[in-house]
Symmetry: C2
Subunit: 202 residues, 2 copies
């Protein structure tokens, strides 16, 4: 069985959202499935000293333009969120719980929650928004929302983020394809080229 893509993303990352729309088709075209890994950029930016592009002079205007333009170029619905960036720890905990139980369900939740934030201007910090996302993908919303309050789940997400960092993840989206690392929505075409050149096309 070929190794799935490991797809790391923060729900507050616009390029993570764009990648979430394409990652499954790309993986499938290369004979792979996708393991979804919700992470938080906060602890990673602490490590790298990076700032979100929208907080950097000169870069901020370009960044917002590029989010929307990249989406348009690839026919992906996009409305820049009213509040941005936001703390996405609740959504990440929910997604983490789902990945532990049912990856297909988790994938559905992640894709939908990204759309809610980056196309429908919903506040995904709001537990009621997360509840309705959970319900609409057919998860046991009540159970999951209880789980994310537990120390066990809080700790598990932290550990998962540390594991990601140990593996070299420092941004979103970040993909491993047979342990080869690719950072950024703009690297998705590189993944296909790399697969072709390495003879990894299924």
């Amino acid at each position: 069985m070929p190794q799935p893509f490991d797809f790391y993303f923060d729900f507050s990352s616009p390029y993570g959202y764009l990648a979430s729309v394409q990652i499954e088709d790309l993986a499938a075209s290369l004979g792979r499935r996708v393991n979804w890994h919700p992470i938080l950029l906060g602890p990673m930016f602490k490590e790298t000293g990076a700032l979100p592009p929208v907080n950097v002079p000169l870069k901020a205007d370009y960044a917002e333009k590029d989010f929307a333009r990249s989406a348009a170029l690839f026919d992906i619905p996009y409305r820049h969120p009213k509040e941005f960036p936001i703390n996405t720890i609740a959504a990440a905990r929910v997604a983490h719980c789902l990945t532990q139980e049912d990856m297909a369900l988790a994938a559905k939740f992640c894709k939908q929650t990204y759309v809610a934030f980056f196309a429908d201007n919903q506040d995904i910090r709001d537990l009621e928004v997360l509840r309705s996302q959970l319900q609409s993908v057919g998860a046991d919303a009540e159970a999951v929302l209880n789980q994310i309050q537990t120390d066990e789940v809080k700790q598990a997400l932290k550990l998962a983020i540390n594991d990601a960092m140990s593996r070299g993840v420092f941004g979103s989206p970040f993909v491993f394809f047979d342990d080869e690392p690719f950072w950024g929505f703009d690297r998705l075409p590189h993944i296909r080229l790399w697969a072709q050149q390495q003879g990894k096309v299924a």
Copy 2:
């Protein structure tokens, strides 16, 4: 006459090098020429608080891998320079002088000097290396190497970099296509998509 591409680059920028190999074909395919604008990232990074990726923990290993891999994926010769990044002010001044006199000659010099640094492991800080680059493109090496010692040229490059920053340039490579800004080697495919969607294909 359609507006040329404005192509901004630092000679120490690997992605600038990769873009220098493709920019003229891309522009030509869209019915455009290229104006080459040598800049220095130093003053820009001061403004944005950015660090070269190779100086950032976690990012450094990935960055070096991605330079070489991106080159390989697009069939561009690449050998990571022994010393990197380096101060490219002399090369930038030379290139700036040439752009003021003969853009075609400047383009040749820029492409060749990039190859010298990123494929042939030459030290482009060395005035003798720059002299031989100038000679090989048929420029008056002596005259140009004298010019770059003058306050006039030093000042002119500074002004050009300030103009670039006023226009929104904060990295390398940076391209304007009809005043639409694109940052990064990975945005070259976006330029073509954008041109198509805006009906700008010649």
